[in-house]
């Protein structure tokens, strides 16, 4: 989120696209409904489903799954055609605007209607609502990202907010609601195969920076790898690691994957789950570290499985980063129960037995505080350096002193600081940055320009135009020495830049001069390193609209996509829809979380949602001769199938089928209850929806496309 949940109280309108906040983030509704009531802010909900959030909307827009980019580009076009764009904001703070606007002209309301199924008049209406009720808060979740063009879709969202001039403003911003409780923190720490903590990437410079933080020789770390080249190569991802085991796709690694440690990670949230199960059973070693036996423990039937009971997060402590980038300290409530151990203890034991504890724990004595300090030391890119454990705990102790509207402490020990010191928090006295890219405040008080990350001048391929990437003259935070755009800071300490200067002198120097360490640039609409420099619509791999495939084809196949061959063009098949005529989309329900290992083991939550189901429109159900409440088979083109209860509801339209993805414990209709350790099987079991989700991965991030697959339905 660029803003915070509380800041959404100041929004004058909302657009939610691919987000069901009422179920996935219920408490955020407190602030959203406040804005709806007090600001009379319209709430536009764009979704294939009439969700519980849509029930609170003023405008519900039913969209065909996977066509979000076309809709947003259509909105941008409509806004530009009517001259509603924020011209001053675009002139001073946006790059590549003309090139983007050129592309957008293709998406006329009529074309948008053709692609998305949204009536042209509604497109016009939504554009007008957004134009007349500024600032708009834009929110998306997995509904916007889990597509083969997910990265284009999310960029389109950002561009829309740039065009409307809603960035860096209270009540505006792109407010992505993150899923898990600490997914923001874990992402910032880059438990990712293509980055080192703090989004440093995998370049030699990044490795050297972190080796300095860890206080180990670069050569030592390099020696741990097979070859130096593997240090810079992106690894397998969570969404496709199993290809490295199965060997059915061509992989770009010297060895197949033989061992797997699944540490606090539910298993049935992977798409094409039946193939994941095959991989589990092919592993030589499978270690599951979780408070509850996940579905993986039941689907993997070999003798190579270890279940290590870690404690829940209430039985250990550490910091967590909320979706608003606030860092809070999760205090330990009770000691680990039974024979459970907390994560830190397990890690220490494992590292000790693997023989690199001395190097690993060189600067870590007090757990977890010393780890926080190490993070503070190294994670400079996103300003994780000001949130010392002491400060985080002080905020927790004094959370009652923070103002609900601004999240700024009024008096008390944290006076003037923002709750949780949302990053970037540049120094140990910095209050945190409540709103990203807000140039109305000085950097020392939580203001921020756009980051200068992509060089100084660029010539666009499509137009041949050259543009300077720095912000226009006169655009800067108050008190800035340079009145206008400036480059990122480097060589304050010779040989380093603001990201790698461990003394943090560079950062402090910049702040003292009223400037942001990372420079002051423009937000770009053109990303010259991506296959689609400007976001465009491409049909999902498994498209229900064969007539559109020719006009909006998908990408070329990508041979080495996180070490595995990934099909795009060769997977897209216009005949598929004949056998698999319905769109399959998945999502959340409020009572369960993720793969559901925790919540389905909770008696009260299980009581509230005791059954797996598929939502089917009564029209479709009756046409297929199904009865409400009867068991049906849903099959995917890949051969996955689930046996679930039909639930007739008008939440979905007659072409779409929705399933919640939290269930597990049965596989393709067969119960696995006997495969759990006796007495530890969850209260509620059902087929995992992800057995049915289709092939398809984002071209950049390899996020799985679970929202726009195809399926067929038959009576069980």
């Amino acid at each position: 989120m660029t803003n915070s949940l509380n800041d959404m109280r100041h929004a004058k309108s909302f657009i939610f696209i691919g987000s069901n906040a009422a179920e996935a983030h219920p408490i955020s509704m407190q602030h959203i409904l406040h804005a709806k009531e007090v600001n009379n802010a319209p709430i536009i909900v764009v979704d294939p489903r009439f969700t519980k959030l849509a029930a609170k909307a003023t405008e519900f827009v039913r969209i065909r799954p996977g066509s979000d980019c076309a809709f947003i580009m259509g909105l941008i076009n409509e806004i530009i055609q009517n001259g509603w764009e924020d011209k001053e904001f675009i002139r001073t703070r946006v790059a590549g605007y003309q090139e983007m606007a050129e592309v957008a002209t293709q998406y006329t309301p009529e074309e948008v209607e053709n692609i998305t199924g949204i009536p042209a008049d509604q497109v016009r209406k939504v554009a007008k609502i957004l134009a007349t009720n500024r600032p708009t808060s834009l929110t998306w979740c997995m509904g916007g990202t889990q597509h083969s063009i997910g990265s284009s879709i999310t960029r389109a969202f950002c561009i829309l907010q740039l065009v409307l001039g809603n960035m860096g403003k209270s009540g505006g911003g792109t407010n992505i609601f993150r899923g898990h409780d600490n997914v923001q923190g874990a992402t910032d720490m880059c438990v990712l195969s293509d980055n080192l903590p703090g989004y440093y990437g995998l370049s030699d410079g990044a490795w050297k920076h972190w080796c300095r933080v860890w206080d180990v020789d670069y050569d030592y770390i390099a020696s741990r790898f097979k070859e130096k080249e593997w240090m810079n190569a992106k690894g397998f991802t969570l969404s496709r690691w199993y290809e490295g085991v199965l060997g059915e796709e061509k992989i770009e690694q010297y060895t197949p994957i033989k061992a797997m440690i699944q540490w606090g990670c539910g298993s049935n949230s992977n798409s094409q789950y039946n193939r994941v199960v095959q991989a589990y059973n092919k592993l030589d070693l499978f270690v599951i570290i979780d408070p509850f036996p996940t579905m993986a423990a039941a689907t993997c039937t070999t003798d190579n499985v270890y279940l290590l009971p870690c404690s829940s997060q209430y039985e250990t402590s550490g910091s967590v980063t909320s979706t608003s980038r606030q860092i809070q300290w999760r205090h330990k409530i009770v000691d680990p129960i039974g024979g459970c151990r907390d994560d830190y203890t397990i890690m220490k034991d494992l590292v000790g037995r693997l023989g690199f504890a001395d190097e690993f724990y060189k600067n870590i004595k007090e757990v977890p505080e010393d780890i926080t300090r190490e993070i503070n030391k190294g994670t400079l890119t996103i300003g994780y350096n000001g949130q010392t454990p002491e400060r985080i705990k002080k905020h927790m102790e004094n959370w009652h002193t923070f103002d609900i509207e601004t999240l700024q402490a009024k008096g008390g020990p944290c006076d003037g600081e923002y709750y949780g010191m949302p990053w970037p928090c540049w120094t140990e006295t910095h209050p945190g940055t409540p709103i990203l890219y807000d140039v109305s405040k000085s950097v020392a008080e939580g203001g921020l320009p756009f980051r200068n990350r992509f060089g100084m001048d660029t010539t666009y391929v499509m137009s041949g135009r050259e543009e300077n990437q720095l912000a226009a003259q006169g655009i800067c935070n108050p008190g800035s020495e340079v009145k206008g755009g400036y480059a990122e800071f480097k060589d304050v300490v010779p040989g380093t830049n603001w990201k790698t200067d461990l003394s943090q002198k560079t950062i402090k120097d910049a702040i003292a001069r009223g400037m942001a360490p990372f420079g002051n640039a423009r937000a770009r609409c053109v990303v010259w390193t991506f296959p689609d420099q400007v976001p465009i619509h491409r049909e999902p791999l498994h498209s229900p609209r064969p007539d559109l495939i020719e006009k909006y084809p998908t990408y070329e196949d990508k041979p080495n996509h996180f070490r595995v061959f990934t099909r795009y063009k060769s997977e897209q098949n216009s005949n598929l829809v004949k056998d698999f005529p319905y769109v399959l989309t998945t999502g959340r329900m409020v009572e369960h979380m993720g793969g559901g290992a925790e919540t389905r083991s909770n008696k009260y939550l299980s009581e509230l949602q005791p059954e797996m189901y598929a939502e089917i429109n009564p029209v479709l159900g009756n046409n297929l001769g199904l009865r409400d409440g009867e068991m049906i088979w849903i099959e995917s083109p890949e051969g996955g199938k689930v046996k679930v209860k039909a639930f007739f509801t008008e939440r979905v339209d007659a072409k779409t089928i929705f399933m919640p993805y939290h269930f597990g414990g049965t596989l393709m209709g067969e119960s696995l209850a006997g495969n759990y350790p006796a007495g530890h099987e969850p209260y509620v079991m059902g087929d995992a929806a992800n057995v049915c989700t289709n092939y398809g991965y984002d071209i950049i991030t390899q996020i799985q496309a679970t929202k726009d697959g195809l399926c067929k339905v038959s009576r069980a």
Binding site: A22, E23, P26, I27, M29, Q30, L33, K36, E37, V38, N40, F50, K52, L53, A54, A55, K56, F60, V590, E591, K603, Y604, L605, E607, L608, T649, E650, R651, V652
Partner: protein, 195 residues
Amino acid sequence: MGRMKFLCDIERCIDCSGCVVACKEGHHIPVGVNRRRVITINQGKPGEKSISVACMHCADAPCIAVCPVDAIYQRDDGIVLVSKETCIGCGYCFMACPFGAPQFPSGQVFGARGAMDKCTFCAGGPEETFSEKEKTLYGQNRIAEGKVPLCAAMCATKALLAGDADEVADVYRERVFKRGSGANAWGWDKAYQKK
């Protein structure tokens, strides 16, 4: 002391069941007994509304009127409570209640209903305040602690209001005034009508 009331703001309730689970977890209610429930109408259609309902602690409570053994009584602050020691589980209160509040855990002789269980407004029961017996039979006594009922306090969107009638009405009036719609307070006509 004023008069205690519940009010569920139908425009704010998002059907998250937070109140339901807050109540169950807080009072250790067995699975199958729902002191509080969320009901949704027009599910999946425009006009979908949800509402959280428990015992409304009616002024002229029908359950008190029909109880054959006078197990149900009303405190001066309007909170309607049941004595589980006295209750025989006949179920008449359920039939008299316009809100479906009384609940009956089974598991007695021949599967007959046990003593009636319902929302206590987090005010415990007739046993000694904070005693173990009160905790086991009725759950927490938060009113005696000076705290508001769990369901309302934990409501995700502050849709559910509980407490002194005047305060609740003030808050709700202010809200309705701010949003300029004429939402009614569900259940008040039945629960609190003046004779």
